[in-house]
């Protein structure tokens, strides 16, 4: 898939710098303008400051985890259509279901398969 996006903003929420950097690098390559947050709460603040076109969040984080972040986004009328992709090393069905029930729009297991990431991005941007 040859993906190129322009003028879209993405927010990456992860408590680990390496993961943020890796993800950011990929998303920038796809054409996103990327901002970062270290936990769900910081993410939510950044979203409310400037609504991005897509959110990528880890699940397990201090302060506010990714599932809570999903809930907060989907419970906010202004943000309900903001696509949220959950990324996690939890590969169990129970976690995926938890994420979906909390409003996640897609689920990408870690380590991230970048082809899947591109696919998910296109799924949500072009196919959404």
């Amino acid at each position: 898939m040859n993906v190129k996006i322009s003028g879209k903003k993405a927010l990456v929420v992860d408590d680990y710098h390496s993961m943020r950097v890796t993800l950011k690098e990929r998303l920038v390559k796809l054409g996103f303008e990327v901002t970062e947050a270290e936990n769900g709460l910081e993410g939510l603040e950044k979203i409310r400051e400037d609504i991005p076109d897509m959110v990528f969040t880890d699940i397990v984080m201090p302060v506010m985890d990714g599932l809570e972040l999903c809930q907060e986004i989907k419970n906010d009328q202004a943000l309900v259509n903001l696509p949220v992709v959950v990324l996690s090393t939890h590969a169990d069905a129970s976690y995926i279901l938890k994420a979906l029930r909390n409003g996640a729009d897609d689920y990408v297991p870690k380590p991230i398969d970048f082809k899947l990431l591109e696919k998910v991005v296109m799924r949500l941007i072009d196919g959404g």
């Binding site: 397990v60 689920y107 196919g127």
Partner: protein, 705 residues
């Protein structure tokens, strides 16, 4: 070596003023040559008459000698000057290279060049390119952080790389400096220990400088990485030998978090192959000792030579003991065997000072020096020369001799027999096959390179592996401390949560660097903590032991990456972990025949369906086949349903939602839903969205009403 020489350009531009000076000197040579002819005829006449030479003739000879001495020295310095070029020519080659390398490495780097107008010998300027290139690459690949990291550290996003040249007292100083992360001496030590270059007990005693010197050790960085990351195929050992070939040395100044500077000190005098030497005789050998290395010459009677078991023979020089060696013996030849008195030359280089016993001191001479090619590599000899009287002589390689005297054996050559031992060099070699102690630092203990993490190629080709590994180290340390405090406070929920999170992140990083097996193991650890987190399991000492053991295994992960083989987890640990694994429920899965089964609609769904039909929506029964490429089948099924619910209302599915959630689904799905889309519109939606992005391979609109 030949390849390298071939790469050196054999032409250069010469300044007119230098040519003019050369012309003047040629004029003077002609004058002297005429004077010598005159003098010669005059002497011949005296000889023919059988008379002794008069004073005028002697003066004429003396003048001719003085003039020719002055001219050869002028010629030498002129040729030196002609060969001088501005170092900026070499520096400028990095303008573009730095830009390209930085771009490839995703770094933002500004190149600063200072002292470009420093004149250096052309050969030096050219031979500096390879080592500089290597170091510039190293700095960009490993020293300089990426812009994000730099911002995080509060550094300017744009890194600064400086190439600087200066000249002081016949020495050229070339510096490569970056403001990156610096080199962690302790990490180098760990790497050196892992590589077996030094044992733990010896390693602990090393100074930072000594630890840093490991980077010059051959093979300190693995070849695979070197070529993969930078495609350069040379290590810092090669850089060091490049500089040493020029008679120079390298020093490292590095500060963690602030950057590193490598400084080459190169004597300008090595530029041309004329060497001031002291010629000596040792037995039947004529040898030349470079004056630069000569500390002193002396004659001592044999009773001034002390002999001790540990240190061999020593003499006292300026209040300190210097070990005495028979020069011939050191070169592997028959010893001189002088008993009455000894003629001694004391020589030194940066590795120390030794005394050489010779047969006779001859004279200080300026010698034209021809280096020995690699094929004729003779230990302790660096080149051949023609001495006065047209006699062939050998030029001693004092650096190597001192290395040999200290028992540092080069390239499998054996230690010179009978050579005494020097105080700083304990006799570990004799133990046979022991790794060289790093304490015995010499040219042979060259090491490394770059930061430790970059090593093998197991694992992924993700660009930030070093960083994942660095984080991993930090996480493991944190988790270790947490587990220890968990031992004392087993009921601390917050602490359990934190430990759980940390193991979870460790798992992520392990997988990111390609250690999937270890990642899965950590997943089991995480699962144990998850049980503790939800209160199903109490933290006992048995559990904390497992956690600590697991931490140790993860700690070794980096080592295993360096070695290129997966880390080992002991059977007993796996067994203890298995004990705490949750018993997974065994599900009985009923295979669902999607085609045969009908929708089970409740009365509310039926009511809804009727209502939608009345509002002009069409109701569809859609059959889908899909083939997930990356994700779980049930996840893709749920995503498809979620997407369809955006264009309509779903009343029922086969398999049912509950069944899908229980993963009881086999890539086939039947959906009953209503939508405003007509059949064509629906087909288009399926083609454009579901087929394109949701792994749908086949579809059939079964029934519409």
């Amino acid at each position: 070596m030949a390849d390298k020489e071939a790469g050196v350009i054999d032409r250069m531009l010469v300044r007119i003023k230098h040519l003019d000076r050369l012309l003047n000197l040629v004029g003077e040579v002609i004058i002297i040559s005429n004077n010598i002819s005159t003098t010669n005829r005059r002497i011949q006449a005296f000889y023919d008459r059988g008379q002794p030479l008069d004073k005028t003739s002697l003066d004429m000879i003396k003048t001719a000698e003085e003039s020719s001495n002055r001219i050869s020295s002028d010629l030498h310095s002129l040729v030196m000057d002609i060969r001088m070029v501005e170092i900026s020519g070499t520096f400028n080659r990095f303008r573009r290279a730095v830009r390209d390398m930085a771009r490839d490495a995703g770094k933002d780097v500004e190149l600063e060049m200072l002292g470009g107008d420093t004149f250096v010998d052309k050969t030096i300027a050219e031979k500096l390119y390879d080592p500089l290139n290597h170091q510039v690459r190293n700095a960009i690949d490993h020293g300089i952080e990426d812009p994000l990291e730099r911002q995080r550290l509060g550094k300017p996003a744009k890194a600064k790389l400086t190439l600087k040249a200066s000249m002081r007292e016949n020495n050229i100083y070339i510096q490569v400096k970056d403001d990156g992360r610096g080199i962690d001496a302790d990490k180098l030590l760990i790497h050196a220990e892992n590589k077996g270059l030094v044992d733990k007990s010896a390693g602990e005693k090393l100074s930072d400088e000594e630890k840093l010197n490991f980077i010059f050790h051959p093979g300190f960085s693995t070849k695979a990485t070197a070529s993969k990351l930078s495609g350069r195929g040379v290590g810092m050992d090669v850089v060091k030998s490049n500089i040493e070939e020029l008679g120079g040395s390298i020093s490292i100044d590095t500060r963690l978090g602030e950057g590193s500077a490598f400084t080459y000190t190169i004597p300008q005098v090595t530029a041309i192959n004329i060497l001031d030497c002291l010629t000596v005789r040792a037995g039947s050998n004529l040898l030349a000792v470079p004056i630069l290395n000569v500390v002193s010459t002396l004659r001592v009677s044999s009773d001034k030579v002390h002999s001790t078991f540990e240190e061999g023979r020593t003499i006292s020089y300026l209040g300190s003991l210097v070990t005495l060696y028979d020069l011939n013996e050191l070169l592997g030849e028959t010893p001189i065997n002088e008993e009455e008195s000894r003629t001694i030359v004391i020589v030194d280089d940066k590795n120390g000072k030794i005394a050489l016993n010779v047969s006779e001191l001859l004279a200080p001479e300026k010698l034209v020096y021809s280096p020995l090619s690699d094929i004729f590599d003779v230990q302790g000899i660096s080149g051949v020369t023609t001495m006065s009287g047209n006699r062939m002589g050998l030029i001693l390689d004092i650096h190597e001799l001192i290395g040999r005297s200290k028992g540092i054996v080069k390239d499998g050559h054996e230690q010179a027999p009978g050579a005494g031992e020097v105080v700083e060099a304990p006799d570990e070699e004799d133990a046979g096959g022991e790794p060289l102690s790093a304490k015995k630092e010499s040219e042979n203990d060259r090491p490394l390179v770059e930061t430790v993490a970059l090593s093998s190629d197991i694992g992924s080709d993700i660009g930030h592996r070093d960083e994942f590994l660095m984080e991993l180290e930090e996480m493991v340390n944190n988790v270790g401390e947490e587990v220890l405090s968990l031992e004392n406070n087993p009921g601390d929920t917050e602490l359990i949560n934190k430990t759980f999170r940390n193991f979870h992140s460790i798992k992520g990083n392990l997988m990111m660097v390609g250690l999937n097996e270890l990642g899965s193991f950590v997943h089991e650890i995480e699962a144990i903590l998850d049980q503790a987190r939800s209160g199903d399991l109490e933290i006992t000492s048995e559990i904390t032991d497992i956690l600590l053991d697991a931490t140790d295994v993860i700690k070794d992960a980096k080592k295993s990456i360096v070695k290129g083989k997966p880390p080992e987890i002991s059977k007993s640990l796996l067994k203890s972990v298995a004990k705490f694994q949750e018993q997974k429920e065994v599900k009985t899965v009923e295979v669902i025949d999607v085609h045969q089964r009908t929708f089970h609609l409740g009365s509310l769904e039926r009511f809804n369906l009727m209502a939608h039909r009345h509002t002009g929506h069409s109701v569809y029964q859609l059959f889908l086949c899909f083939k997930p490429e990356f994700q779980h089948t049930f996840l893709v099924a749920l995503l498809i349903l979620k997407r369809i619910s955006k264009i309509g209302n779903i009343f029922g599915t086969v398999p049912s939602i509950e069944e899908i959630e229980n993963q009881n689904i086999e890539r086939q799905l039947k959906i009953m839903f209503s939508s405003q889309l007509d059949k064509k519109g629906l087909e288009k939606f399926i083609e454009d969205v579901l087929v394109k992005y949701y792994d749908v391979t086949e579809f059939e609109i079964l029934k519409t009403f």
